[in-house]
């Protein structure tokens, strides 16, 4: 989460986790979401995910969802998390705009 301090940029993993939690999900479902959305380019280790979820929860960007007695712990994004994701989307749009201006639209 160190990068969030630098230029306001989120790490790719952080952003994907936030996106995955627009619907309540447990840890394993977050891993599956990221793998599916990136077609396997980005796989997240369980230890890394654990640390990231903990850090995001401490920051108040995600929170526990529902009661968790005997069930897998589920998380969901908070309003503060949505705001962070929103500003990241704006940042990425500005970045791709600059890139397209210089490199041309062709990929």
């Amino acid at each position: 989460m160190r990068d969030a301090v630098a230029g306001g940029a989120l790490t790719e993993v952080t952003f994907y986790i936030l996106l995955s939690l627009f619907e309540p999900r447990h840890g394993y479902a977050v891993m599956q979401f990221i793998e599916a959305e990136t077609a396997g380019r980005l796989t997240l280790g369980a230890g890394t995910l654990y640390g990231a979820l903990k850090a995001l929860e401490e920051r108040g960007w995600i929170e526990r969802h529902g009661n968790e007695h005997g069930r897998k712990k589920e998380f969901v994004i908070t309003d503060a998390g949505r705001a962070a994701a929103q500003s990241e989307l704006r940042r990425l749009r500005a970045l791709t705009l600059t890139a397209e201006k210089i490199m041309g639209g062709a990929i």
């Binding site: 369980a46 230890g47 995910l49 712990k73």
Partner: protein, 194 residues
């Protein structure tokens, strides 16, 4: 068929991991651990894969919640001791541990310093830490105990002005050096990529 194998790896986490994976390649699946050994039952050859993680820096709640999370992700986990402590009611001071884990007793992570994690082999590397930032954080938890072991011997050495006290510190110094090289490598990568 079941069997118990006597084997003790102390802090050699990589050797332990390699050995468990070799056992799986021979058709043995881990079912439990004892202080000096491992319990197995026969299984399909190479069906399972193992990784070993250090959790001795965590508090009791920290270690248990982490283990529970890994189980929720579909892995099987076993706690394993790193050192040999047969005493009951013993307390160990771990200055390098996180809050709540500094005084390790039988109720916390004493004799449960390692976590053996099992997954069904799926052809992809079994890595719990996948981002540079997180691998760096994990490396730092690994190097901290070694720094303490390396430095602690300087106290009697300085008090008695006898350099022989530094001999036991040598392996720890080497351990620290190995991790510092790894940490430097990750930091170099991080300058360009996340």
């Amino acid at each position: 068929m079941k069997k118990t194998v006597k084997r003790y790896f102390a802090g050699a986490m990589n050797s332990q991991q390699k050995w468990l994976n070799k056992m799986s390649d021979r058709g043995w699946r881990l079912t439990g651990t004892t202080i000096m050994g491992y319990e197995f039952e026969d299984c399909e050859i190479g069906k399972y894969e193992y990784t070993v993680e250090y959790v001795g820096n965590k508090s009791k709640e920290g270690a248990e919640s982490y283990a529970k999370f890994l189980e929720d992700c579909g892995y099987r986990v076993f706690f394993k001791n790193m050192n040999l402590n047969y005493n009951v009611g013993k307390t160990v001071y771990k200055p390098w541990a996180e809050k709540g884990g500094k005084l390790a007793t039988n109720d916390t992570t004493l004799n449960k310093e390692l976590l053996i994690v099992e997954k069904v082999r799926d052809g992809r590397p079994f890595e719990l830490h996948t981002t540079a930032e997180d691998r760096l954080a994990y490396m730092k938890t690994l190097v901290r105990p070694w720094i303490w072991f390396a430095v602690i011997w300087f106290v009697p050495a300085i008090l008695t002005r006898s350099w022989t006290f530094l001999i036991p510190s040598a392996p720890a110094v080497i351990g620290v050096a190995v991790y510092l090289v790894k940490i430097a490598k990750i930091k170099r990568e991080m300058r360009i990529k996340e």
